[in-house]
């Protein structure tokens, strides 16, 4: 098993797309941070009028098509839970309070909850999970391992390292881009930041595992990547809303499907998560990881290469 993990980790670092994704991510992070900083500097912009947006995005976002920075097009603060609309696209809303200095934590929170970083992760996750299948390299060794399902487990473990590394690199990128854009570096409250980052890492890993399962089960990069990105862009929210309405019609009222999805939890985790929030997120992420790694392992074991 250890050899398999070493093989996959080695392969991961030899994959060109890993570096391409990191470079693109870095460039976009720098550009969006600069954009957010410029908007914040403008007097009377919504950034200066927003209240501290530490609540789940899914309860606060308006409809936004495409990537919206700083919430300028999204009057998040004026919405209530009852008036919530589902997000189509990616809306990055820093929760910086009026008159307060933006922190790295604010920016990280905004990007993570918007599933902006998750988007890069799932692209690589799908490419990585299917690279050996689509190239045919899998045929070189799949018959020689005693339990083929372990190959999926090994991929999942390699993707865990990728998730942790990506989150760490992202935070670093964000920290580097802040002085460039804002002219100062303010990390934020570490006692809140670190637990938040830990929980988000687990949730993001759960999301990557879901996308890996799509890729392995469907054996089609285009299909699985489209599906994964649809979840990232909130298109799946339409389905969740529909499910909620169906459930309401059969008598199960006030049920919110999105709360039981990994993408919903990524968007919904508040900045200062309570023990209950953390527990629910960890439980849900663990369940998703176990179920989706289990499904893909089973399918891979049973199916011909």
């Amino acid at each position: 098993m250890l050899n398999m993990i070493q093989m996959d980790v080695f392969r991961m670092f030899k994959t060109k797309s890993l570096y391409v994704i990191y470079i693109v991510m870095f460039v976009i992070i720098v550009l969006t941070t600069m954009l957010m900083a410029s908007v914040t500097d403008e007097p009377g912009t919504p950034a200066s009028t927003t209240t501290k947006n530490t609540e789940p995005q899914s309860f606060m976002d308006g409809v936004a098509a495409g990537i919206v920075e700083n919430g300028t097009d999204v009057p998040a603060s004026v919405e209530t839970e009852e008036e919530q609309e589902q997000v189509i696209g990616i809306a990055v809303n820093p929760p910086t309070e009026e008159g307060a200095k933006a922190t790295v934590y604010d920016l990280v929170f905004a990007n993570l909850q918007a599933k902006f970083i998750a988007m890069f992760m799932v692209i690589f996750g799908v490419l990585f999970a299917t690279a050996d299948i689509s190239s045919g390299y899998i045929k070189n060794f799949a018959g020689q391992v005693k339990n083929r399902w372990k190959l999926v487990l090994s991929k999942a473990i390699a993707l865990f390292f990728f998730t942790v590394l990506t989150i760490l690199l992202y935070v670093l990128m964000q920290a580097v881009s802040m002085p460039i854009s804002y002219g100062y570096l303010e990390i934020g409250n570490l006692s809140e930041f670190l637990p938040y980052l830990g929980i988000q890492t687990l949730l993001h890993y759960g999301f990557v595992c879901v996308c890996m399962a799509f890729a392995i089960v469907f054996r089609n990069n285009l299909c699985s990547m489209t599906l994964s990105l649809c979840i990232c862009f909130g298109i799946a929210n339409v389905l969740y809303a529909f499910m909620d309405k169906v459930l309401a019609k059969i008598g199960i009222k006030d049920f919110e499907t999105v709360k039981y999805t990994i993408s919903g939890r990524i968007a919904g985790l508040p900045m200062n998560p309570t023990g209950s929030d953390a527990g629910k997120c960890i439980l849900l992420a663990t369940m998703f990881i176990l179920v989706f790694v289990g499904i893909s392992s089973y399918v891979f074991q049973k199916r011909d290469v």
């Binding site: 080695f10 030899k14 070189n140 799949a142 020689q144 011909d304 290469v305």
Partner: protein, 305 residues
């Protein structure tokens, strides 16, 4: 009795109602180069995939190195395979492609990889990416990948398909070297019979999923070699004449044919002697058969080949 390295009993693979491989009983001696002959779509690849552990049989049994059933997993790593086209990571070098598989086998020595590259004649390719390789180079790297872990049984599916004459010679020489110097048993499929006849020591002929015949190189040569074929009304009447003329190497083929394998140039004298002795000779001619023709006859005529 020669030690059997691979034995299959009633091996069958069915896709819905189509029998791709139908009750195949195949036997491979240790140290043999087994030529697996069949036209495109005959079931060769499906059969080889089952042996290589890439596909599960619908029914029947595989016995490898004396192990069968669930115990097969104990010896799976003793098989190396190159099935269909070589599965390579195009953006990586030959060295890195080999290193990935070496990681799986826990092989750390750089020399091991270099030795394999040398064995398959790719020692000088340097860091050239495999997507820039010629088909012959890719095939040889595919063989190199199959050699990782020092397998006792090497399975090669159409390794010379699409190669130019130089490439064919290189692959042939590599296979012969592996068989002789490493005492490796090789199962090689091809529909290029002339090429196969240069390296195979045993043959199995498959057609429409059914194994038609298994025979050694000597047996095949015997059947294909030049001979005087005599059609008579009663073969037993011709035998005393042949004995009297000093013929020792002859065979009654069926109830109307006798084949004589020596003194081919004396067919006229033989005809005269037979007629003189009162044997009614309906037809006499010198016959010989190429492996290709033999296979065509076996599979039911040229229209099927």
């Amino acid at each position: 009795m020669t030690e059997l390295l691979l034995k299959t009993e009633g091996l069958t693979k069915t896709f819905k109602k189509y029998h791709a491989v139908n009750h195949v009983d195949l036997h491979i001696r240790k140290g043999a180069v087994y030529g697996f002959i069949g036209r495109n779509g005959a079931g060769k690849t499906t059969f080889l995939k089952m042996i290589a552990g890439l596909s599960t049989q619908t029914s029947g049994e595989i016995e490898l190195f004396g192990y069968k059933g669930k115990d097969l997993s104990k010896v799976r790593d003793r098989i190396g395979s190159l099935i269909e086209t070589p599965g390579l990571y195009g953006n990586m070098s030959a060295y890195d492609n080999l290193k990935i598989k070496c990681k799986l086998f826990g092989i750390r020595e750089e020399k091991y990889i270099k030795d394999i590259l040398e064995t398959v004649g790719l020692a000088d390719v340097g860091k050239k990416k495999t997507k820039q390789f010629s088909l012959g180079m890719k095939q040889r790297l595919g063989i190199g990948l199959a050699l990782v872990g020092d397998p006792d049984l090497l399975i090669l599916d159409e390794p010379i398909n699409g190669l130019d004459p130089q490439g064919i010679v290189e692959v042939r020489e590599t296979i012969q070297r592996l068989n002789k110097e490493h005492d490796m048993t090789i199962l090689i499929s091809s529909h290029i019979l002339e090429e196969l006849s240069k390296i195979a020591t045993d043959y199995g002929m498959i057609h429409q999923g059914i194994l038609l015949e298994e025979l050694t190189k000597e047996e095949l040569m015997e059947r294909c070699r030049e001979r005087i074929l005599i059609r008579v009304d009663e073969p037993k009447k011709a035998l005393p004449v042949l004995d009297e003329l000093g013929y020792k190497n002859y065979q009654v083929v069926d109830d109307s044919h006798v084949a004589v394998y020596e003194r081919i140039e004396e067919s006229e004298e033989l005809n005269y002697s037979l007629v003189k002795a009162g044997v009614f000779v309906k037809e006499i001619h010198v016959a010989s058969e190429e492996l290709e023709n033999y296979f065509i006859h076996l599979t039911g005529g040229a229209n099927h080949a």
